[in-house]
């Protein structure tokens, strides 16, 4: 059965550079001395630590629980001792530190008792599956890191199609490819579990046509798993065919509505890596503590490693024969959408798929854009390359002019930051950087607007209250005055004065007979007091 494919507009063809890291087999990276686990490795609220400094933890043990709502727990990747829970450098474009749990490993790799126990999932309900997946800390391993259990819930049975993304369109990245090569059957089983959680029938696995070997292996795995309802589709090798929106468009001809989710058109997408992690979690009771990561670029031996989450990047670079002394730039992710690390001591996290190393004496030069950008000549190459069908030249123009209303009129927020426009720009303008700048400025402004709206409301309410109180006071005064005016006859006045004087007299009498708080005292005490009083009187008279 051949599925008719649709085109997405734009896109670019890139040199793949995938061979280097796929010739040698995948190996397990050595356990590092130190594991650094950031509490925030996913989209949503950070996890909350449930261990203390000094605790010994075992592989697979939950060390941080999921926060509220959207979140994911974090497990110890290996056995060891918690040495610190503190702010550390994490892999983030900002280079800012964030809370992490640090484990000093003991090399014994001891696991919790239930770790790795096989079980049958067929009897589990969708709800139970989701909960297991949540407890295993599984997040979207394609890069976004959205907690997966949330994308396995089929509210009102709106979702009809599950797409498994094995496209991996960025150059250099090969971890999904190697995962399909080594664990095709587990991926297919993971897909079946996901399908069971979603309670749907229609599944598609998409693979780029530059991976014929993996396509064949996946096909065999589908037969083996007796899952021929799963449709295996080969898609053309064009960047960014692996982008969720582009893949959906290619496979179904449908477009995810602007500001919407694939769910809105009955589709949900998961990465092949996520499917594998689901199998490990559900069938083997292994939470997400390791993943495949490509290490490529200026290293002696580019390869895919199975890496414990939390392993420092420097450890991987050294393991692949890279020289840490000559590093010039280390990219986490692919060359198109990855970000450059500020520090190679940062750990790899759940969403890390590739470490791309660039050294000063580079064997693998990345032809970067020059620092001296030329003016935009409006050639429109960017618009032709844009997979979202935007007009990048206009976005650039208005972002540069800081005209943030106009830039939104040109649909800035539909930009997926794939970098195609930037890649083809003959003026070598850092276009994506301009869009990020515009987006973050707009977000900032919106935040400020919300705050200022709140304070304005408060101020308005304050004014309103003052006004109301003033009115009420006036009202009271008026009534009083009215009351006074009513009782203005002479007799009444006299009576009022009399009454007032009476009140005063009464008050004075009361003061005279005011009881002293000495009634409860003993005879002796009273005597003493009287003596004191007498002495004081005498003294006063002497003066």
């Amino acid at each position: 059965m051949m599925r008719r494919l649709f085109n997405f507009s734009g896109g670019v063809r890139l040199r793949e550079h995938k061979r280097e890291s796929t010739v040698s087999p995948v190996t397990r990276a050595q356990i590092p001395e130190k594991i650094i686990l950031p509490l925030h490795q996913h989209i949503g609220t950070p996890a909350r630590p449930v261990v203390n400094v000094g605790d010994r933890v075992l592989k697979g043990q939950i060390i941080a629980k999921a926060g509220n709502n959207v979140s994911a727990p974090i497990h110890a990747s290996t056995s060891g001792t918690i040495t610190a829970i503190e702010d550390c450098a994490i892999p983030h474009p900002s280079g800012l530190p964030a809370p992490c749990i640090i484990i000093e490993t003991d090399g014994r790799d001891e696991a919790v008792s239930h770790y790795g126990q096989s079980r049958d999932y067929h009897s589990l309900t969708a709800e139970q599956l989701r909960d297991e997946i949540k407890q295993a800390g599984i997040v979207g391993l394609g890069g976004a890191g959205f907690p997966s259990y949330l994308k396995l819930e089929n509210k009102d049975h709106k979702i009809t199609t599950l797409i498994l993304n094995g496209v991996e369109c960025e150059p250099y990245i090969t971890c999904d490819q190697m995962l399909m090569r080594n664990h095709a059957i587990d991926i297919v089983n993971g897909l079946k579990i996901m399908q069971q959680a979603l309670e749907i029938d229609h599944c598609i696995i998409a693979i780029e046509n530059n991976k014929p070997k993996e396509l064949e292996l996946m096909q065999e795995a589908i037969y083996e798993a007796e899952a021929d309802h799963i449709e295996l589709v080969q898609v053309p090798t064009v960047y960014p065919a692996g982008g969720e929106k582009q893949l959906i468009q290619m496979l179904t001809g449908k477009e995810v509505p602007s500001q919407g989710l694939p769910m809105d058109i009955g589709i949900v997408c998961h990465n092949v890596g996520t499917a594998y992690a689901v199998t490990r979690a559900i069938e083997h009771n292994e939470p997400l503590i390791s993943r495949y990561i490509t290490v490529a670029g200026s290293v002696a031996k580019a390869k895919v490693l199975e890496v414990l989450i939390g392993t420092p990047v420097s450890h991987l670079i050294e393991e692949c024969g890279g020289n840490r002394k000559t590093l010039s730039r280390v990219i986490m992710g692919g060359p198109m959408m990855g970000f450059a690390l500020h520090d190679d001591e940062v750990p790899v996290v759940k969403t890390t798929n590739c470490i791309l190393v660039n050294s000063v004496i580079s064997d693998v030069p990345l032809p970067s854009r020059s620092n001296a950008a030329m003016p935009c000549i409006r050639c429109g190459a960017c618009a032709e390359a844009c997979p979202a069908n935007l007009l990048p030249q206009q976005l650039y123009w208005y972002a540069r002019a800081k005209d943030f209303d106009k830039v939104q009129d040109y649909n800035l927020f539909d930009c997926i930051e794939c970098g195609c426009c930037d890649y083809v720009c003959p003026s070598q303008i850092p276009l994506v950087q301009y869009y990020r700048y515009a987006k973050s400025t707009i977000w900032q402004q919106e935040k400020e607007k919300v705050l200022s709206d709140i304070s304005r409301q408060r101020h308005e309410f304050h004014n309103l209250r003052i006004e109301r109180e003033k009115k009420e006071r006036e009202q009271r005064h008026k009534q009083k005055r009215k009351a006074v005016a009513k009782t203005s006859s002479q007799d009444d006045k006299k009576a009022a004065i009399q009454a007032a004087m009476e009140r005063v007299r009464k008050k004075r009498d009361q003061e005279h007979v005011q009881p002293k708080n000495i009634d409860d005292l003993t005879e002796q005490q009273r005597k003493l007091i009287e003596e004191v009083e007498a002495r004081r009187k005498n003294k006063l008279e002497d003066l």
Partner: protein
């Protein structure tokens, strides 16, 4: 240790403005050779004058505008301006014509109008129109093909003609030149001579356009196709320009072949080919959306025809391009593509 942290994407296609401009110049080479074959050394000399003038003007303007001189002067954009303008100037035109034209293009039409990327009009065409209006006589002394080679007019003779207005004994400029076929048809039509009669009685006509000119047109066409292949230009503008010109010419030709030249004649005459592939496609001043490019190209094709047939000038490409340059921003505004995930256009 300090790592570099540039922003993504971390790779870039092997493309730059310099590369684009060099490709435009390379695409012109076959046409230049053909031109020289038919009409002598004049074009090359004019190009030399133009390029020298352009570089000097560019240097001075960049200095005056405090722009990084090396980065901008090596982008090659002034070379393209000078080369295109040289194509539009008669081969034996006096040297100062080229100097004035290029200076005006670079100083006024390029830098004073905003500099690279900001100039609203095609600088070469602004320079050309300025020359055409200011020096109509010098701008219309075209040569018939092969006349110089037949008369053994050497490179040195050409040099002295251009720089000193001095011709070898026995020659005058007037004796050498001839009216162009576009001009000829127009003037003949005014005295009620049909297109066919004009063509039959004058030897300067080839199969479609003028002898020599149609060959230059062929090479420009091939150069243009190469530019499309190399993705320096997109096919939309040339196809729209030539297509619309052909269509409108065909309509009138079918209606009255005596008074209207054939569509092939229009497409292969004057600066139509050069205009469609090399001038209208100037990215800075053209429309940039796909739909916008088509509309912009159609506008140029139709306006050129209108100016040629009913206007006061024999060729109209330059005026048509400038008029449509002015419309480009508005065209772009109204032809925004539908963005992914959006229902329809909301400009």
């Amino acid at each position: 240790m300090k790592l570099n942290t540039p922003t993504s994407p971390h790779i870039h296609a092997d493309i730059s403005i310099r590369k684009m401009m060099s490709r435009v110049l390379i695409a012109l080479v076959p046409a230049v050779i053909t031109y020289t074959w038919f009409f002598g050394w004049g074009l090359l000399i004019n190009m030399g004058i133009g390029i020298a003038t352009a570089l000097v003007c560019e240097f001075l303007m960049l200095k005056a505008r405090k722009r990084p001189v090396h980065q901008f002067i090596t982008d090659g954009s002034v070379l393209v301006t000078a080369a295109l303008l040289a194509f539009c100037i008669p081969p034996l035109a006096p040297w100062w014509l080229m100097v004035i034209g290029v200076s005006f293009s670079v100083i006024v039409a390029k830098h004073l109008y905003g500099g690279l990327g900001y100039n609203p009009f095609n600088p070469a065409m602004v320079g050309y129109v300025m020359l055409l209006i200011s020096f109509p006589k010098d701008m219309t002394v075209w040569l018939p093909p092969f006349i110089l080679s037949e008369l053994n007019f050497s490179f040195l003779d050409t040099l002295s003609a251009i720089f000193m207005g001095a011709f070898p004994l026995g020659f005058t400029l007037d004796a050498l030149t001839a009216v162009t076929f576009l001009d000829l048809i127009k003037t003949q039509l005014n005295i009620d001579v049909t297109v066919a009669e004009t063509k039959n009685t004058h030897a300067i006509f080839g199969d479609f356009g003028g002898i020599g000119w149609e060959w230059i047109g062929n090479w420009i066409f091939l150069g243009g196709v190469w530019l499309i292949y190399k993705k320096v230009i997109s096919w939309h503008i040339p196809v729209a320009v030539l297509g619309s010109m052909f269509t409108i010419a065909l309509i009138f030709y079918l209606k009255d072949p005596d008074h209207y030249a054939s569509p092939m004649f229009h497409v292969f005459s004057g600066a139509a080919m050069l205009g469609a592939f090399f001038i209208a496609t100037d990215p800075v001043s053209a429309a940039t959306t796909t739909m916008g490019r088509v509309i912009y190209g159609i506008g140029i094709g139709i306006l050129t025809y209108v100016i040629r047939v009913w206007g006061g000038y024999p060729d109209g490409i330059a005026f048509a391009v400038l008029l449509m340059n002015l419309a480009a921003p508005t065209i772009d505004y109204y032809t925004q593509p539908r963005v992914y995930g959006h229902k329809r256009n909301e400009p």
